[in-house]
């Protein structure tokens, strides 16, 4: 998906760099972490990340579990895309770890529209669906001419 996006001009990050950024960490008990770019809480552009054709940049981390012959289970993820000089400056899609309270309140899946302390419930999406959104030609893109109310 990332390579396709590059080949269609939507992702500036080269294919060689895509291979360098995509990593896997396997742990005991069937858990694994798939990372794309560095862990970047401070939102420093100099840390490794993916970059879109319009300058927006993102990274992500996905936790999965495979128990025996069961299908791969999605445990948690966070995808954050950043828009320098824009407001909101970032959008982050979180899938919390499974847990009774989390799911009872319907907030396991949520997004942060430009603030770590502000979250909005969002539909449950697979990592592939979120990447499709991040790499989409129309959605999550600032238009060339921004309306005055968005400034």
């Amino acid at each position: 998906m990332l390579i396709d996006a590059h080949n269609h001009g939507l992702l500036k990050t080269s294919i060689a760099r895509i291979h360098q950024l995509l990593k896997l960490e396997q742990a005991a008990a069937g858990y694994a972490e798939i990372t794309g770019g560095a862990r970047n809480f401070k939102r420093l552009r100099e840390l490794p990340h993916f970059e879109r054709d319009d300058g927006a940049w993102f990274d992500f981390a996905i936790t999965v579990a495979q128990k025996g012959r069961q299908p791969l289970e999605l445990v948690a993820y966070d995808f954050e895309i950043r828009f320098d000089g824009k407001n909101p400056a970032f959008v982050r899609f979180d899938l919390n770890k499974p847990g009774h309270q989390n799911e009872a309140e319907g907030v396991r899946s949520h997004l942060h529209p430009g603030a770590d302390d502000l979250s909005v419930p969002s539909p449950f999406m697979s990592p592939g669906e979120i990447l499709t959104l991040l790499l989409h030609e129309r959605f999550l893109r600032w238009p060339d001419k921004v309306r005055a109310t968005s400034a």
């Binding site: 390579i3 995509l22 896997l24 960490e25 005991a28 936790t63």
Partner: protein, 197 residues
């Protein structure tokens, strides 16, 4: 004798092979056991990338039979192995049959360095087809130690907790729900504590 080959991971080699028509690649692995592992990973990875069927062929020390198998393979990348049983003569025989191995899609030969040395010594026509040879880096896709430490340090600074505190909270079932904590435990090799949640 060699000055060392460049290393390559499975995903990158699969990508190169799926985009290069007619190319012959050699992947050097440490030993015979690694051959099977590398072949398995390559076939899986190529399956995701390639529009055509991927074939895996073991030589059985018989160049003539291998040539026949090549001719019967469906269009698509071929991953071939089993060269460790080849003698100098077998390589010479394979060299003479070179025309019969020609394909439109690429071919990956997985073998040990010793086998590659014999190929280079005895099969000059086949060797002229081999564009690239790499050493297999079976860990290319994994987080390096510095990368893992970068992530852990960022987590510690962000949440103001030590690794031991996070483990203790997880053991008590009191770890926050945020996705970053799941990653934290996996990076510490404590993924099993996620089962406590």
């Amino acid at each position: 004798m060699n000055v060392g080959l460049r290393s390559i991971g499975t995903a990158e080699l699969a990508l190169r092979a799926s985009n290069r028509p007619g190319a012959w690649f050699v992947l050097i692995v440490a030993d015979v056991l690694a051959v099977r592992e590398a072949v398995r990973e390559l076939v899986t990875e190529l399956g995701y990338l390639s529009e055509q069927e991927v074939s895996s062929l073991e030589t059985q020390s018989a160049p003539e039979a291998l040539a026949a198998a090549f001719e019967q393979c469906p269009p698509g990348v071929v991953v071939t192995h089993g060269f460790e049983s080849f003698s100098s003569q077998t390589w010479q025989d394979m060299d003479l049959l070179r025309s019969r191995y020609r394909r439109d899609a690429s071919v990956i030969m997985v073998m040990t360095l010793a086998s590659m040395d014999l190929l280079m010594q005895n099969a000059p026509n086949l060797a002229s087809w081999i564009g690239n040879a790499w050493q297999w880096d079976e860990h290319a896709h994994e987080l390096s130690n510095p990368e893992r430490e970068q992530r852990l340090q960022a987590l510690r600074e962000q949440f103001g907790l030590s690794d031991q505190e996070v483990i203790a909270q997880a053991e008590q079932g009191q770890l926050p729900m945020d996705p970053e904590y799941a990653e934290w435990l996996v990076l510490l090799g404590k993924g099993a504590l996620l089962d406590h949640e």
